[in-house]
């Protein structure tokens, strides 16, 4: 405990230079912009702005990127409450009570509640990261290839077993990602695979190029398809409103705590923020004495989902830092960033790059506080961003995407690849093939394959290596159980029904 505290102070030391603080502010402003603008959100905003950081040192780079992410999270709440447009899937639950509050002229209260609860949710999650991540990382230092493969398997299986999408579509998305990750030079033998003689494919398919296309370009196409008319409320937040909302906060401590716990729990498992926000909202409603008032502008209905979503979004960084496995799409992109800056994600990060890890964790604390103050004071300005016509924003986003895609490997081919992924993303989203498993598979594919092959080499091709000790055995078994979870739960409920 005290060791983590000392390291955290050390992290603040790394952080407190004028340059880093300035980058933090820039990141937050850019992030709020990205969160407010239609057709952009957390993951694509981070992906598009990633090239800005290529020439920075990794610590400054990650501080700026994570601040873009915090900013985007804060920004999403603005459009949900004022315009009833959830910027991200996890802000949907925020609109249930946030928009009615705005309609009743209580927009400022709703926004203050949303920002404050985001802050609380992230804060709890950051505390969790500070005290839990180093322990998990040092435990994971003992992992060999079989353990790592088992953890990757667990990640993939939990997507298939626990996802809400049709199972075969999740599997299509995931295997496609794993396959495309394998294109190019094989890391074990040096042989070429799936390049079909193309020199451009030698480099492999870059993860970030795919993300920019899948999320950035496809989002523009989808946004164009809809009606772009908006009707919403302008709001400014006065200090008096903020203090009034804060004074009432202690009354909602149960809701806040419950949502934080749900969020942290679901954030560590992949793809959890959306589920977390709905679960936070529904549980707050179920335990409330006055269920009827939910959905009609109750402030608790803003507290609950926002706290859960942000606790989950932040704690998604825990497995990324400690194990090298991202818990969300944005965490996956940050992981892609680590690789670009020449860092190897995984438990060794805590040993080899103390500066980086603790600088990042400290920036989560500072970024959240600064972000909260900033967003509370600048809401009217950012809400006005929505007045900028989409016909001006769309081409600018396209240009930014192209810059991002090109800068990663200085390749024109990547701009074309981005375009292809844009179309793929558009079609996949419309027919219900989830993109998150694809993203995760593409970024983890090579590492999962390497772990598998190294385990096989070590064990002489014996698949029983994945059950060779209690640790790896229990992870692998859990993975298999999760994969077949829908079947298992169906059988269990049928048996129960037969008994009754």
């Amino acid at each position: 405990m005290s060791e983590a505290f000392g390291l955290l102070l050390y992290g603040f030391g790394v952080l407190l230079t004028w340059k880093t603080l300035a980058l933090m502010m820039v990141g937050l402003v850019l992030g709020i912009f990205v969160g407010v603008l239609p057709g952009l959100g957390g993951p694509n905003g981070v992906a598009i702005l990633l090239p800005l950081t290529f020439t920075m040192d990794p610590t400054s780079a990650i501080v700026m990127l994570s601040c873009i992410y915090w900013g985007a999270l804060f920004g999403g709440a603005i459009t949900s409450i004022l315009f009833n447009i959830p910027g991200e899937a996890w802000s949907v639950a925020t609109t249930f009570d946030g928009y009615p509050m705005a309609q009743q002229g209580k927009a400022a209260e709703a926004l203050t509640a949303a920002f404050t609860s985001s802050f609380i949710g992230s804060f709890v999650a950051v505390l969790l990261i500070t005290f839990l991540a180093p322990g998990i990382a040092s435990f994971a230092l003992r992992f060999g290839p079989p353990e790592f493969f088992a953890v990757y398997l667990l990640t993939f299986c939990s997507f298939v077993g626990l996802g809400r999408e049709e199972k075969h579509k999740t599997i299509i998305s995931m295997t496609l990602g794993l396959l495309l990750a394998g294109v190019g030079m094989d890391t074990v033998s040096g042989q070429l695979r799936m390049t079909f003689g193309s020199a451009e494919l030698l480099r492999g398919i870059n993860f970030l190029v795919a993300v920019i296309g899948l999320f950035g370009i496809s989002e523009i196409l989808l946004t164009m398809e809809e009606r772009l008319a908006l009707r919403g409320h302008a709001a400014a937040i006065s200090l008096r409103t903020v203090l009034r909302v804060w004074k009432d906060l202690p009354r909602y401590w149960v809701t806040l705590l419950r949502s934080s716990v749900i969020g942290c729990w679901l954030g560590i498992t992949p793809g959890g923020a959306i589920a977390a926000s709905f679960m936070g909202y529904n549980l707050a409603k179920r335990f409330s004495k006055d269920k009827e008032s939910f959905g009609k502008g109750r402030i608790e209905g803003v507290f609950a989902p926002e706290t859960a979503a942000h606790a989950s979004g932040t704690s998604a960084l825990l497995p990324m830092l400690a194990l090298g496995i991202p818990g969300s799409g944005t965490a996956a992109i940050l992981l892609g960033g680590l690789m670009v800056w020449g860092l190897n994600p995984g438990p060794l990060l805590f040993v080899e790059h103390k500066n980086f890890v603790w600088g990042l964790i400290a920036s989560m604390y500072l970024g959240n506080v600064v972000g909260l103050v900033m967003v509370l004071s600048t809401v009217p300005f950012f809400a006005a961003v929505l007045r900028v016509p989409f016909a001006a924003i769309a081409p600018m986003i396209i240009v930014s995407c192209a810059i991002g895609a090109f800068a990663i490997q200085n390749a024109m081919f990547d701009i074309w690849l981005m375009l292809v992924f844009g179309v793929v993303g558009y079609v996949f989203k419309k027919i219900g093939i989830p993109l998150a498993p694809f993203t995760l598979a593409l970024v983890l594919g090579n590492r999962a394959e390497d772990a598998f092959r190294l385990s096989m080499i070590g064990a002489g091709g014996d698949l029983r290596v994945f059950w060779s000790n209690s640790l790896v055995g229990s992870i692998t078994t859990l993975a298999v159980v999760l994969l077949f979870w829908p079947l298992i739960s169906a059988v269990v409920s049928r048996l129960r029904g037969a008994k009754a």
């Binding site: 396959l179 695979r193 009606r227 302008a234 001006a392 090109f406």
Partner: protein, 180 residues
Amino acid sequence: MSGPEKEIVIEDPAAPAADSPPVAGTRSVDIAVSLLLLAFAGLLGWDNWRTGIGWDAAGPKPGYFPFYLSVILAGACLWGLAKELRARKQPDAPFVSRAQLRRVMQVFVPTVAFCVLTQWLGLYVASFLLIAGFMAIIGRIAWWKSLLTAFVFAAVMFLTFDVAFDVIMPKGPLEAWLGR
């Protein structure tokens, strides 16, 4: 009361009409995508089989892992195909209406043109043309506003990436003439 409450209203006169006829049904697109992915799985499976899917002294050969992935991909596609074909008697949701497709093309075609132009004219000139053209022609915004916005945006991008952060973008004749 917390500050003046105002309404923000943004109209979209060119919005796609709600009664526009659908171009394709979601199920037909789903089936087409499954068939395409099935073919893709076949292609990759064949390529990996050629690379070697067996085992040698150093464990599984390079084609082993991707080969079995293509088999799983093909299996999932077949499953999806069977499911959609079985459900073909039920009513289908529209994939995209004609008016929506028109709007999507309004942004997709200029984007393709932008990518082509980037190869010839460099990214900054191409982005100036894309932004100015898109704003003025599709967004029906006054020409002077469009040109000014496009110029400012391209210039800011150039100063940010090329000058401040040393991230080099594709360049064309204009940059050469300016000596950058």
